[in-house]
C-alpha cells in the first residue's frame, strides 16, 4: 500500500478547499486546522492513500462529528473522542480498521479523518461519501447505493459511548443518533457504518481529499499572485460563475432542526441591475436569477468572498458582503435518478425538476 504524507502546507490548503466544498454548510474547519497544526508541530503526519490501493476486504472507518456548529464554537472539537469513536467500533466489530475516511468532504468534517490519522497512524482514504456537505445521514453515496447504515458508534468527551446496533432505515439511524447526540450536549464524534475496501471503491466518491487540497492551493496561488481567486477556481475545477453581487438581505429560521433561510443579492459588475435569491438548508440549495431557478442541489453552490475567494458559510452570511456565487460540478452518482431522489431539489422540499448548470453548458 502506498501513501503520501501530507505537508503542513497541504493541510492548510485542505482546510481552505474543504470550506469551499462545504457549499455554505459543514462548519468552519478552523478548529480542526488548529488541532492538526499542533499535531504536526509534535511530529505527527497524515498519510493519504489512494482508494484504489484498498484491499477488497479492508475495514474502513467512516467518521464525522455530529452536532450544532455553534456548540462547536464553545465545546471545541477534540481528536480524543474522534479516536475513541473508531476504537469503540473496533471493539464492537472485533477487528481493527485499516484506514479512515470522511463521510463529508465539505467543511469541518473533512479534517476529522486527518486528525484521527495523525493520532493513530491510520492512513486517510482519498475520498468521502458526499463530495460536498449535506445535512442528513441518508444523503450519502453509500445510502444511494443501499449499503447498510448500521452499526454506528457515538462518543463524547466524558467517554460516554453509544452503539446503534441496528436501525430500520437511514431516517431511523438519523433519529436515534441525533437523540443521543443532543443528550451529550449536541456535539459528539461518530463512526458510521464501517465499509469494506470494495464498498469504498465502488460506492464512495473518490479523490475528493486531493480535490479539496487542489482547490485550496488554487485559491492560495491566486491570492499570492494577486489574481482573481474565483476565476482561478472556476478555471481549475470546470466551474461556472453564476452571479456576482452584494448581499442585500438575509433571513434565517429554524425548522425541523435545520437552519433554513434565504439570502437576496443585488448584482455587481456584469450582473448589475439583476437580483439573485439563494435558499439554504444548512447548505445552499437553490438559486434564482431574477425569479428563475438557475442553479440547484446537488450541483455545488459555493458562495465565496469576492476579494479573498474564501468560502462564506450560511451562518456567516451578512448584509453588504460582496460575493461570487459559483457552481461546481456534482459527483456523477448524485445525478443519477436514485441520487437525485436522495439529494435533488425535491429532497429539500423544492418542487423543481433538477437541471444542472453544467448540462446546459454541454
Amino acid at each position: 500500500m502506498t501513501t503520501t504524507s501530507l505537508s503542513a502546507r497541504q493541510i492548510e490548503s485542505l482546510a481552505l478547499g474543504a470550506w469551499i466544498l462545504g457549499t455554505g454548510g459543514g462548519g468552519s474547519p478552523y478548529h480542526g486546522l488548529l488541532n492538526l497544526r499542533r499535531l504536526y508541530k509534535e511530529g505527527a503526519r497524515v498519510r493519504l492513500m489512494d482508494p484504489a490501493d484498498l484491499a477488497d476486504d479492508a475495514a474502513v472507518a467512516v467518521v464525522s462529528t455530529m452536532g450544532a456548529p455553534l456548540v462547536m464554537q464553545e465545546r471545541v472539537v477534540d481528536p480524543g473522542p474522534m479516536v475513541e469513536s473508531i476504537r469503540a467500533m473496533e471493539a464492537y466489530l472485533g477487528r481493527p480498521f485499516d484506514a479512515v475516511m470522511a463521510v463529508e468532504i465539505g467543511g469541518s468534517n473533512a479534517l476529522q479523518p486527518c486528525q484521527i490519522g495523525a493520532v493513530t497512524g491510520l492512513p486517510v482514504v482519498d475520498g468521502d461519501a458526499m463530495g460536498r456537505a449535506f445535512p442528513e445521514a441518508q444523503m450519502t453515496s453509500f445510502a444511494i447505493h443501499d449499503l447498510p447504515m448500521a452499526p454506528l458508534t457515538l462518543v463524547d468527551v466524558r467517554d460516554n459511548a453509544v452503539i446503534v446496533a441496528r436501525a430500520a432505515s437511514w431516517k431511523w439511524m438519523e433519529r436515534l443518533s441525533r437523540k443521543a447526540c443532543v443528550e451529550v450536549g449536541s456535539i459528539a464524534a461518530t463512526c458510521k457504518a464501517p465499509r469494506t475496501g470494495r464498498e469504498v471503491k465502488e460506492c464512495g466518491i473518490l479523490y475528493t481529499v486531493s480535490k479539496a487540497i487542489r482547490i485550496g492551493e488554487t485559491v492560495q496561488a491566486a491570492q499570492a499572485a494577486h489574481r482573481d481567486p474565483i476565476q482561478a477556481v472556476i478555471d481549475g475545477e470546470g466551474g461556472r460563475l453564476i452571479f456576482r453581487g452584494k448581499i442585500r438581505d438575509v433571513e434565517r429560521r429554524t425548522t425541523e432542526g435545520f437552519l433554513r433561510g434565504t439570502a437576496t443579492l443585488d448584482g455587481l459588475d456584469g450582473d448589475r441591475g439583476r437580483s439573485f435569491r439563494l435558499a439554504f438548508q444548512n447548505e445552499f440549495a437553490v438559486g434564482w436569477l431574477d425569479g428563475r431557478p438557475v442553479v440547484m442541489t446537488p450541483d455545488l453552490i459555493c458562495v465565496m468572498d469576492a476579494i479573498s475567494g474564501e468560502a462564506i458559510g450560511t451562518e456567516t452570511l451578512r448584509y453588504g458582503q460582496r460575493v461570487a456565487v459559483v457552481a461546481l460540478p456534482a459527483p456523477p452518482i448524485l445525478l443519477t435518478p436514485k441520487g437525485l431522489a436522495h439529494v435533488g431539489p425535491r429532497a429539500f422540499g423544492y418542487d423543481l425538476d433538477f437541471r444542472s448548470v453544467f448540462a446546459e453548458a454541454r
Partner: protein, 516 residues
C-alpha cells in the same frame, strides 16, 4: 449639561467642550509620547478658550493607548490562564493560534480544569474546585498578578468563573481577575483571547487611568471621568480600568458617532479622511455597524464589537506617482506640512493635487502651477473613483443614503457620488472624534441562547437583561432604547433554540454616575 470629549490619536490629541448639543470650544494639539502631557496641554488650551473652568458634568476620553500596547508589544503583563471545561476542548489550550512573540510575552502559566457547561446550561462535569484551589496556590507562589478565567459556555452560565474568582480572592488576594463571561460572546477561543488580552493590560490600564484622573485634577476639573468603548458608549474610568480591551477601536467609532452628531443624521455612510487612510463605515441609528467576522487585534483573533470599516490607502498625505499613475497607499503622513509641495517640500501628494485642482486652498499654490492639467484631472478622477468604490462597498443596500465627510482630508471627497443622496460637510469636522467621545452613551448587551420560548418572548427577555446591564453601567433607564437586535435560530439544536444578540443604549444618568 457640559461635557468635555478628548480623543488621543496617534498624531493629535483633540479636545472639545460641549454645552448641551453645541460644540462651544475645540482644540487640536500634538499627541505626546507620555500621552498625559498632551492631554494636560489640550485641557489647558480648552479652558483658556472657555475663559476659565466651567462646571463640567462629565469628561470622556477616547484612546488608542491599549490597542497600541498590544500591537507594539509594550507594557504587557504576564498572565496566568485558567480554562475551565475539561474534559472538553482540551486539545486547543489557551494561547493557541497567538503570534509567538506575543504569546511569549503574555503566557505566564496555563491551567486547565474540569467544569464548564453545555449549551442548555447543564454542567459538562462538576467544577473541580479542589483543583482550582491548587491552581490558585501556584499562581500565588509564582508572583503573577493577573489571571484570565474562561469557562466553556460561560456567557450562558458564568457560575464556574464566579467560583474560580471567589477561590482566587481568598488564596491570592490582590491579583487582578478577568472573567470571560463579563467580556463577551459565544466562541470559546475568541472570548478567551479577549480575556487574556484584557488581563495582560490590567496594570497598564490602572496606571493610565490614574494618570487621566491626575491630568483632570491638575486642570481643576471636577467631574466623573469616562473612557469610551469600541461600540460608541462609555464606562466609568473606575470600572473601565478593569476592561481595557473595550477601548479597542474606539477611535473610528468616536469619529463616526461624532459625524452623526454634527450632521444630525442617524443613517448614513461616513468617510473619515486622514493623512494616510480614509476609513469608511456605515451608521445605523446613529451607531457604527459592527463587523460580523473575526476582528484581529495585534494578530489575535477576537469576536469583538468592532465597527465594520473599510480602510483605503488614500489620505491627504498619500504619495502620487505619475507613471504609472498611482495615489497611495504610501503616504508622508504627519510630515505633510514639511514634505508636501505646497508646503515647500518636494513630495507630490494628494493634497498638492487637490490644491492644483482648486479643491482646497492650502500652502503656496504657485508651487503646483507647473503640474500638467491632464495629470491633475486623471489624479483627481482616480481619487474620486477610489472613494466612490469604497462608499459603494460599505452601503448596506441600494437605496440612496447621505455621506458624511469628516477628517482633515475631506476636500478629497467628490461633491456627487452615485448612490449617495447628499455629501454632507459639517462644522468641526476635523475634531469629529473628540465630539464622538463627548456624546457617548451607556450600553448594555446580551448574547445568549434562549430555548423553548417564542421568538417574541425570547427577544423581550433579552431586552430586559440588556436594560438591567445598561442601568447598572450608569444609564438613565428612561432613555434606554434598543439599537441592535439580531436573532439566529440554531441548526440541529432541539426545542426552537434561538441565539439573540441585543443591545440597548441610553444617556448617562444625570448625577447618577455613582463615583468618579
Amino acid at each position: 449639561m457640559n461635557r468635555i470629549g478628548i480623543d488621543v490619536g496617534g498624531t493629535n490629541t483633540d479636545a472639545v467642550l460641549l454645552e448641551d448639543d453645541r460644540v462651544q470650544h475645540a482644540v487640536k494639539t500634538p499627541t505626546t509620547a507620555d500621552v498625559m502631557s498632551g492631554i494636560r496641554t489640550a485641557l489647558a488650551r480648552l479652558l483658556r478658550q472657555a475663559g476659565g473652568t466651567p462646571a463640567v458634568d462629565a469628561v470622556m476620553i477616547g484612546t488608542t493607548h491599549f490597542t497600541n500596547a498590544v500591537v507594539q508589544r509594550r507594557h504587557l503583563a504576564k498572565v496566568a490562564a485558567v480554562r475551565i471545561g475539561l474534559p472538553a476542548s482540551a486539545s486547543l489550550p489557551p494561547f493557541i493560534d497567538w503570534p509567538e512573540d506575543l504569546a511569549d510575552l503574555v503566557r505566564g502559566q496555563v491551567h486547565m480544569l474540569e467544569g464548564g457547561h453545555e449549551y442548555d446550561g447543564r454542567p459538562i462535569v462538576p467544577f473541580d474546585a479542589a483543583g482550582m484551589r491548587e491552581v490558585a496556590r501556584r499562581i500565588r507562589d509564582s508572583g503573577i498578578d493577573s489571571v484570565a478565567v474562561a469557562s466553556v459556555f460561560s456567557p450562558l452560565n458564568g457560575s464556574c468563573e464566579l467560583e474560580a474568582e471567589t477561590i482566587l480572592r481568598e488564596i491570592c488576594p490582590g491579583v487582578a481577575i478577568t472573567l470571560s463571561h463579563r467580556l463577551g460572546r459565544l466562541g470559546l477561543l475568541e472570548r478567551e483571547n479577549v480575556t487574556l488580552l484584557n488581563a495582560c493590560l490590567r496594570d497598564l490600564a490602572r496606571s493610565t487611568t490614574r494618570a487621566f484622573v491626575d491630568a483632570l485634577v491638575a486642570s481643576g476639573i471636577r467631574a466623573p471621568l469616562y473612557l469610551t468603548q469600541n461600540d460608541g458608549t462609555v464606562m466609568l474610568a473606575s470600572e473601565a480600568d478593569a476592561y481595557p480591551v473595550y477601548s479597542f477601536a474606539s477611535g473610528p467609532t468616536n469619529s463616526m458617532r461624532g459625524a452623526a452628531f454634527l450632521s444630525k443624521r442617524e443613517d448614513a455612510i461616513v468617510v473619515d479622511v486622514g493623512g494616510t487612510t480614509s476609513d469608511i463605515g456605515s451608521l445605523r441609528h446613529g451607531f457604527p455597524r459592527d463587523a460580523n467576522g473575526v476582528a484581529e487585534v495585534g494578530g489575535v483573533r477576537t469576536l469583538f464589537r468592532m465597527p465594520d470599516l473599510l480602510s483605503l490607502g488614500l489620505g491627504g498625505g498619500s504619495l502620487v506617482t505619475e507613471t504609472p499613475l498611482a495615489v497611495g497607499p504610501r503616504s508622508v503622513g504627519y510630515l505633510l506640512t514639511e514634505q508636501g509641495r505646497v508646503f515647500g517640500g518636494d513630495q507630490l501628494t494628494a493634497t498638492d493635487v487637490a490644491v492644483a485642482a482648486n479643491l482646497v486652498e492650502l500652502g503656496d499654490r504657485r508651487r503646483v502651477a507647473t503640474l500638467s492639467p491632464a495629470l491633475v484631472r486623471a489624479c483627481v478622477a482616480r481619487m474620486h473613483a477610489m472613494i466612490e468604490e469604497g462608499v459603494d462597498r460599505m452601503k448596506a443596500d441600494a437605496s440612496p443614503v447621505p455621506l458624511i465627510v469628516v477628517g482633515g482630508g475631506s476636500f478629497l471627497v467628490p461633491d456627487q457620488i452615485p448612490g449617495i443622496s447628499e455629501v454632507v460637510h459639517v462644522p468641526h469636522q476635523a475634531v469629529a472624534n473628540a465630539v464622538g467621545a463627548a456624546i457617548a452613551q451607556v450600553s448594555g448587551e446580551v448574547d445568549q441562547v434562549f430555548q423553548d420560548l417564542s421568538r417574541d418572548r425570547a427577544l423581550a427577555e433579552a431586552q430586559r437583561l440588556a436594560e438591567a446591564k445598561a442601568t447598572r453601567a450608569g444609564a438613565d433607564p428612561t432613555t434606554l432604547a434598543v439599537v441592535e437586535v439580531e436573532d439566529l435560530p440554531l441548526a440541529y439544536l432541539p426545542g426552537n433554540s434561538l441565539r439573540v444578540r441585543l443591545r440597548v443604549v441610553g444617556d448617562i444618568a444625570r448625577g447618577g454616575a455613582p463615583r468618579s
